[in-house]
């Protein structure tokens, strides 16, 4: 829905270079935005009336006549009603007027360099996102805008915590058009700058790639870059960038200028292959996918538009009901109702209502948790050359791209009650400053094949010794010795279990907890009730820490923490034999160093490949 002020909406941002062509957003925007306030007022009113109704209900229940003095008083003073109604109308009119005024100043503008978004009647706000700093453009549709066929475009910019620019609201069609246009522009922009950076600093490949901030002054450099990029002084490294890293080498999706490396996660390699292929990817994608995932013995179907995983809503609902927390709160509520009924039957009627009301917070809590899980319903993953594109949500749809090249660690998790269904959840750590508002979900719930597929895509090729397959290893890590997979027994040999002395500290888990090393991965098997498997690629390890307290020393145990970035995974090689732990600490430092060197060398070395790929990109 283009608005009348700019009938000549340009079709590409490059054409929009004509200055000061501001496009308006959808006229309903101010109302949709102030809806929260309206709902707040409504809730306050309801809360105010609640007392009245409660006493009325109590009066009714106890058989007394309802106390209507207030209503009688109102009847005697009709002017009061008139004033109240008039006031409400006045407020509505004023709201509409100011909404209109606010709408008139809201707008966005795109030129060859950046996208601008302005708003604000009294305090004017102008935000600017440079196209070459845009990480991703998401089309978000919250419930109400969605009902009205509108959506917002969220521009994720490498900058401060609230450096996201959210352009709202546009009609869905217009939003999609704009997103596609801008994505193309961003990509072109980045390819161009990558080409020039590569040309300028080709010998120091890593520096070009990662912005190469000098460690000591990295923060300052980032501050300038961030302020410059997002038009604001906050310092942060963007949702997808590590703190102080990646300030100038931002990429949308996966950097295709770096050749495929064996330590890249399989998904990244797949994307790189897809990037080199023609547009008609579906067939090829399936071939490449199954080719790369061969160690997992999977045969994945690539559906329409590269769709590889679809989690139906009912599975998400069942899985969230199978949560111990949910079950406990349901149990508590049932017990409360039972008690209330018993009281009623016995004849203590006064206790009936309070007990039921006492259960209300529980119901609310359970419902909130449940609703949060519903957000993951219809979880659809598509493989594209940008990485894994995810779409989820039952009432409101959100999309995002999982930047596979920035995943730092992956875990599989199986809550106790999911066992009978054989379901697993997959999560990841990413190089970012916490990702607090994001759930780091790779897969909300899925069967073992889906779990293997997602984990396989997110991790590099495990590079196992002959005779052990990757799925054997993962299954053995998932189900420990109970796995019936033919390779699991062989893979079990890779696992280093905890020594017997640790049973004093870990009476239950000591038999299950173990770690395994492959040439590219550290695999941790954890959790006896809630099963869990952590995977940390060697190239992603930050630092290591050895720890031994007095009790552990008495038992001759040691723990090594493998530091990953913030996220749901904190890998710990826990309670191993002290000497083995020390050896692991020393050797793993060496192992990860070699892995890093090979990884970075692979990015630099084949110069011809690099330029060749760049040319292909441009051509």
């Amino acid at each position: 829905m283009r608005d009348e002020s700019s009938p000549d909406t340009p079709n590409s941002p490059a054409e929009a270079a004509a200055p000061e062509v501001w496009h308006r957003v959808h006229p309903l925007t101010p109302i949709l935005e102030s809806l929260g306030v309206l709902v707040g007022i409504f809730i306050a009113a309801v809360y105010g009336l609640q007392n009245f109704f409660q006493s009325a209900v109590e009066d009714l229940a106890s058989g007394r006549s309802v106390n209507l003095t207030f209503a009688e008083w109102l009847g005697a003073h009709p002017l009061v009603i008139l004033a109240v109604v008039g006031g409400i109308i006045l407020i509505l009119v004023l709201t509409a007027f100011f909404s209109w005024l606010a709408w008139r100043v809201m707008g966005y503008r795109v030129d060859a360099e950046a996208i601008y978004y302005r708003r604000g009647l009294l305090s004017k706000k102008l935000r600017k996102a440079r196209l070459d700093r845009v990480q991703s453009i998401d089309l978000q549709q919250k419930l109400l805008p969605r009902m009205l066929g509108m959506g917002e475009l969220v521009f994720d910019v490498a900058g401060g915590t609230d450096s996201n620019i959210s352009l709202k609201y546009l009609s869905k069609k217009r939003a999609e058009e704009l997103r596609d246009e801008l994505l193309a522009a961003v990509k072109a922009k980045k390819n161009a700058s990558a080409a020039s950076t590569a040309a300028a600093t080709a010998p120091t490949g890593t520096a070009a790639e990662h912005g190469g901030p000098e460690p000591e002054t990295g923060a300052a450099g980032e501050a300038e870059a961030g302020a410059d990029a997002a038009g604001q002084p906050r310092v942060r490294a963007g949702d997808h960038g590590g703190p102080g890293l990646d300030s100038s080498g931002e990429q949308l999706g996966i950097d295709l200028s770096v050749p495929e490396r064996s330590a890249d996660s399989i998904g990244v390699r797949l994307s790189k292959r897809l990037g080199a292929l023609a547009d008609d990817v579906s067939q090829e994608a399936e071939g490449s996918l199954n080719d790369l995932l061969a160690p997992y013995h999977l045969s994945a179907d690539v559906g329409e538009e590269g769709e590889i995983i679809r989690v139906p809503a009912h599975r998400v609902i069942v899985s969230s009901l199978l949560n111990t927390g949910t079950l406990i709160s349901v149990g508590v509520i049932v017990v409360l109702i039972a008690i209330a009924v018993v009281f009623l039957v016995v004849g203590i009627e006064e206790a009936f209502l309070p007990i039921l009301l006492g259960g209300l917070p529980g119901i609310f809590a359970a419902f909130t948790a449940f609703k949060k899980n519903l957000d993951n319903a219809n979880f659809v993953v598509r493989i594209s050359e940008d990485g894994l594109a995810v779409r989820h949500g039952l009432f409101s749809t959100s999309r995002k791209v999982i930047p596979l090249d920035r995943l730092q660690a992956v875990c599989l998790h199986q809550p106790l009650l999911w066992r009978w269904a054989g379901w697993w959840r997959a999560e990841y750590n990413i190089a970012s400053d916490g990702g607090k508002n994001d759930e780091n979900l790779l897969l909300p719930v899925g069967d073992i094949d889906q779990a293997l597929l997602m984990v396989g895509l997110a991790l590099p090729d495990p590079q196992l010794p002959a005779g052990i397959s990757a799925d054997g290893l993962v299954r053995s890590a998932m189900y420990d010795r109970k796995s019936t997979h033919p390779d699991a027994a062989a893979a079990e040999g890779l696992f280093h279990a905890q020594p017997r002395s640790s049973r004093v500290i870990d009476p239950l888990v000591w038999k299950r907890r173990a770690y395994a090393l492959t040439d590219s991965l550290l695999v941790l098997r954890l959790g006896i009730l809630d099963r869990r498997v952590d995977f940390v690629p060697h190239v992603r390890v930050q630092s290591l820490r050895y720890y031994q307290g007095p009790l552990m020393r008495a038992l001759n145990l040691g723990t090594v923490a493998v530091h990953s970035t913030a996220g749901p995974i904190t890998p710990l090689v826990k309670h191993q034999d002290a000497d083995a732990a020390k050896r692991f600490f020393t050797e793993h430092a060496e192992r990860t160093r070699i892995a890093r060197q090979t990884y970075d060398a692979a990015a630099k070395s084949p110069h011809t490949d690099r330029t060749q790929i760049l040319e292909e990109d441009e051509g």
Binding site: E214, P215, A219, P243, G244, Y547, H563, T565, F585, R593
Partner: protein, 166 residues
Amino acid sequence: MNRDPFFSIGADVPFNRVSSKYGRKEVLASMILVVPLLIAALVVAIIFTSEMPWLHLAWIAVAVYGIISTIIILRQARAIGYAEREDDLLVRRGIMFHRATVVPYGRLQFVDVDAGPIDRMFGLATVKLHTASAATDATIPGLPRAEADRLRDSLAGLGQANLAGL
């Protein structure tokens, strides 16, 4: 003293100790709390000595705590060691609780040098290493100011030379 009563890790790397002033500085810092407490307990005990003679136990307890914590702090200070290895920095500390952290130079994001007021009285500084992981807790306290600056510059240089992709 050459006796190294502390745990060994990382093959046979020679560890650098932190400044001998660091132990004294930590003791002074802990005395800021202990001494007023001791004086207060002592005064109260002397005033009420006839009514409640057991109050003397309180200041004795504080004094014993002060002495024990002083010994522990001094030993802990001696146990801190760091080694600049070829590719990473190894930091070791703790007598009861053994902790060792290894930070590869290629993973360094930035290096902080902090010096609080008491630190400055002793001419000391703390070097803190930051990686992309919040869990990295590599801190070397009690370095002489010059050594801290040298270490920071050296680490920054090594970090830049080895910078690895995330």
